[in-house]
């Protein structure tokens, strides 16, 4: 689930490809995965990993809604 909208930041992939010449701003989100979502198996480990991801890294899903 998306836990946070962090603002708009330049997409690093484009910065690298264009050697810093092109800044493509994109929304950046904190996205939380439960241990089970990330590593499979039953969700008994009671931990989550929150990763910061640019919008184009995400796929839309019917199940996942912005909090």
């Amino acid at each position: 689930v998306i836990t946070e909208y962090q603002g708009e930041y330049p997409l690093p992939d484009i910065l690298v490809l264009t050697r810093g010449a092109t800044r493509t701003l994109e929304p950046l989100y904190g996205v939380r995965f439960s241990a089970g979502e990330l590593w499979g198996g039953e969700d008994t480990a009671r931990f989550s990993v929150t990763v910061d991801l640019w919008e184009s890294y995400l796929e839309s899903s019917e199940e996942d809604r912005i909090l």
Binding site: Q6, G7, Y9, P12, L28, G30, R32, L38, W39, A45, R46, F47, S48, V49, T50, V51, D52, L53, W54
Partner: protein, 198 residues
């Protein structure tokens, strides 16, 4: 540039010198600019700064509220800034509670709020920590001597983009009468990363 990593061997130092010469030759920066950034960081960057932020948050609920809402602005009340480094970054403070424990990692490299924590310890940059803490955080914390109750939820924060995370540990019991500087003495760098409790 002065070696801010401290422990780097001569091979790393040589590589830094060659990269530095190349970026200066390419006109991307100057020797003077690099020295200025390192000087500011070296003068100010230390876990003591992060500890001051935590001690203020423990002592002043209003500050704590501002810190969790907008950490970049709140730390300026203490004369601190996230703009001291080579590029400004967003700071987010995350609070430990009786039921939630936070721990920070950078799975890509070794990002964390350097101005509040000083240069990262060797283990923070180690592939073993970076790969294992997202897979088995409870076991990794136990190896640091941090035994969490089985029912405690662990939140791992991966600094994979533009935000740097600061853990605000749970205030130890029996510290109600302590003033801010004394409270700050209790806060360790590992406590601010989340591999220790305070």
């Amino acid at each position: 540039v002065t070696d801010i990593h401290g422990h780097a061997g001569s091979a790393t130092a040589d590589r830094v010198k060659r990269v530095e010469a190349a970026v200066v030759a390419a006109g991307l920066t100057t020797e003077a600019d690099l020295d200025r950034v390192v000087e500011v960081l070296a003068a100010q960057a230390s876990p003591r700064q992060g500890a001051r932020v935590v001690a203020r948050a423990w002592s002043d609920p209003g500050f704590a509220q501002r810190l969790f809402a907008d950490a970049n602005t709140a730390i300026e009340e203490l004369g601190l800034s996230m703009r001291a480094g080579p590029a400004p970054v967003r700071l987010k403070a995350v609070a430990n509670s009786e039921s939630v424990h936070n721990v920070v990692v950078c799975t890509l490299c070794s990002c964390y709020p350097v101005s509040l924590l000083g240069p990262p310890p060797t283990w923070y940059k180690d592939p073993a920590y970076r790969s294992r803490v997202v897979r088995e955080p409870r076991e990794v914390l136990a190896e640091f001597g941090t035994q969490l109750a089985p029912e405690t939820e662990i939140r791992v924060w991966d600094s994979s983009a533009e935000t740097r995370y600061l853990v605000v540990p749970l205030r130890p019991s029996g510290t109600e009468s302590l003033d801010e500087p004394t409270l700050a003495d209790l806060v360790t760098r590992n406590g601010l990363i989340g591999t220790a409790v305070v």
